[in-house]
Point group: C2
Chain length 429, copies 2
């Protein structure tokens, strides 16, 4: 790690780039063509994509992208959690500068979330190939397994295992929403690779290009976000167990209604987010009542709560307040409540030198730019535990993401890929 | 109707029963055996039953009960909405005295709800057959289609069409939770009968024996409930449409979260029920979020609201308040809300003469008894629109119903069937 940080000192000399060749340039049309082609895999109505992690569609997407990696001359390895890394050799056999993201999507996902970062990484490689540039360090492009967490919890699973924060065995045993495990599905789609995971790979630095997935850049008319860090994420699954009974004959005072307790907790979490302010977010995205009939008091309610905050203390306070309320509400209704963590990640700060260089490279290229935190979790936050890491954001039209209508303008894609190119070349020395 | 009421004047002379034969007696073992046999059709774990209306299980249950009707010598007819009526001839070709209920269940139903009323009716017929009693008027035993409404709305559909309150065509076109229609399913299971419906049949009086489905009789240690009426029922399906977006990047103030609005309305309805008191009930039993993922703000929430009250004004006030709040909550969140009625039945008062005779016959038989309203909707309330009608309740252990653990003690079943026997014989003259 200290060696990596020393070498990053070269950032003080931003003109130190490979000199022996033409200036590499992003080919926007080629990048867009790859985005379009990948978006056809698992395409759904409205222009969106459904490629849940380790599904058949994910396999097809993986095959397509890994094929492109090989066409570009990368040395492709697959590790035991299904992360795919393509390495472009450098002049020296040093730890690589890495970029990348993920290609799995939520059920009603867009075509840019994750995919842009991976395909822009490939475009950087293609640009370097075209220009005949050989960097001192290798450049690696990765896509990590199950970043979304829409099928298997926690999200960012592949990069978390890659970094060593989650044991491989535990990840492989994880059951998804359909009851099958990560391990089964990796084997089924042929992506349980031979490469070891868990910190075995030394990475010099990591940079991820991603769509903002929020409204801020568009709202302020800016092109590039220099991402300072990622907010903390706390996901919980609650199960409330009450008594099923007839909706017409059971007096309100004698009910043990699992459903109403779930809904009271959801409303309270919203209220806590409003009261705490300062960027505290609270979302209940999944609710399942049993037996789920109009005239039967639910005896079971399962629901998820997604709490996020850039401030660790604020997040802890939100968690504490909602959990305390959940116990009170359950007790008042005479129902049982249990909960299990699905994800719990503290806020992450990115490497200041990388944040500063994203900002300055953007300006050098004539783009408007601001520093900003990321609202969403990203693979870069896992890599930040093992090497200097940072992110580049480009605007999302209407702030839409996890939505089939997700869109980023082509000129913004070009700008973001250009910043990524310059930063990777600089880091690779 | 006026003729029917005149004849009911005979109720003033409670000793006016058939004299030409032995005294008919309920055979509890035979009645329990039929309850057990019917409970095997669609049996589910925990001793419960799943025979959703017009399912394959419902067909098997219908075949079994209609077979018993024929074995008992009843003249069985099936009408166009699938109601099955078995008639035991009287000495005169007058409009029959009718009893019965339903044999469909909710998804996690018990073995007594509905079934008891139908099978106790058959036991009355069997007792009359054994005793060689021929009543002046015919006695009819019916089971009505889709009383529960768990698959097709509205509930009490068969008796509503029978009475003429819902056009046959409209009922047949009704789509269920699986998207198929009542008409398709009636044809599929062979119960689209040739008998006309809609008030064509003249009924002298209707009496339904049913389990209480609530805790009151057990709580007060009583055996028989003389049901004074049925509370009003108002079922609504709400659909909230917002914008799907990323749970981590969308500030709380910029959200259009369909899910939270649904849950706010559910919590408010609970609050209205508490504030109004006086027996106002509010239940949200069904909720469906889309896309239903932990980290995606729901763009659609569908949910049902079941409001009930014995007091028509109270019910109207609850409906008005919840609907007004729904609009406010939707407006505050910037989402669209629509609703459609699934059922809307005003409170019903049963015929005072029948209520009084249930009370006095129970006392004559040595049972404790109280007058009480019904919390649940019943076929008897539809029949009350076309003839003098009433109901007999027996206790539900723990107040449980719409629950696999639903149970009524055998001595209470015997008591209820005995009151039904005496009342039917008396009404049939």
């Amino acid at each position: 790690m200290s060696a990596a940080l020393d070498t990053l000192g070269k950032l003080d000399n931003p003109r130190h780039v490979a000199q022996e060749s033409a200036v590499p340039r992003i080919d926007l049309a080629r990048l867009i063509a790859r985005i379009e082609a990948l978006a056809q895999v698992g395409a759904i109505a409205g222009g969106g994509v459904c490629r849940l992690a380790l599904s058949d569609e994910d396999r097809q997407g993986r095959d397509l992208v890994a094929g492109w990696m090989r066409e570009l001359g990368l040395d492709v390895t697959i590790d035991a959690i299904g992360n795919v890394v393509g390495v472009r050799a450098g002049r020296e056999a040093l730890p690589p500068v890495m970029t990348g993201s993920h290609i799995d999507t939520v059920r009603t996902g867009g075509r840019y979330d994750g995919n842009l970062g991976v395909l822009a990484g490939l475009e950087v490689v293609a640009a370097l190939n075209d220009a005949g540039v050989v960097t001192r360090r290798p450049i690696a492009v990765a896509f990590f397994t199950n970043e979304e967490g829409a099928r298997f919890a926690p999200d960012m699973m592949g990069s978390l295992v890659f970094q060593g924060g989650l044991a491989l065995d535990e990840a492989l045993r994880t059951k998804g929403i359909d009851g099958t495990t990560v391990g089964e599905n990796l084997a089924r789609i042929g992506y349980a690779g031979p490469q070891p995971v868990g910190g075995a790979r030394d990475v010099h630095a990591f940079v991820e290009l991603h769509v903002e997935q929020g409204p801020l850049l568009e709202h302020e008319g800016l092109t590039i976000g220099a991402v300072t860090g990622v907010q903390g994420i706390h996901w919980t699954e609650f199960v409330v167990e009450g008594t099923s009974n007839h909706a017409g004959t059971t007096p309100m005072a004698l009910r043990h209604d699992a459903g109403i307790v779930a809904m009271q907790i959801a409303c309270y979490a919203r209220e806590v987010a409003r009261e705490l302010g300062g960027g505290q977010l609270a979302t209940v995205g999944h609710v399942k009542l049993t037996p789920d009939l109009v005239n039967v008091i639910p005896n079971r309610a399962e629901f998820t709560l997604d709490l996020r905050n850039t401030d660790a203390d604020g997040l802890a306070q939100a968690v504490q307040r909602v959990f305390a309320f959940a116990q009170e509400a359950a007790s008042a209704e005479g129902v049982r409540i249990t909960h299990r963590p699905l994800a719990d990640f503290a806020p992450v700060a990115f490497d200041e030198r990388i944040v500063a260089r994203v900002e300055s490279i953007a300006r050098e290229r004539g783009h408007s730019v601001r520093r900003m935190p990321s609202g969403a979790g990203h693979d870069a936050q896992m890599l930040a535990r093992m090497c200097p890491a940072g992110m580049i954001f480009v605007p999302s039209v209407g702030g839409l993401s996890h939505n089939v209508a997700e869109y980023t303008h082509e000129h913004d894609i070009e700008a973001g890929a250009g910043v990524l190119l310059d930063l990777l070349v600089e880091l690779a020395g």
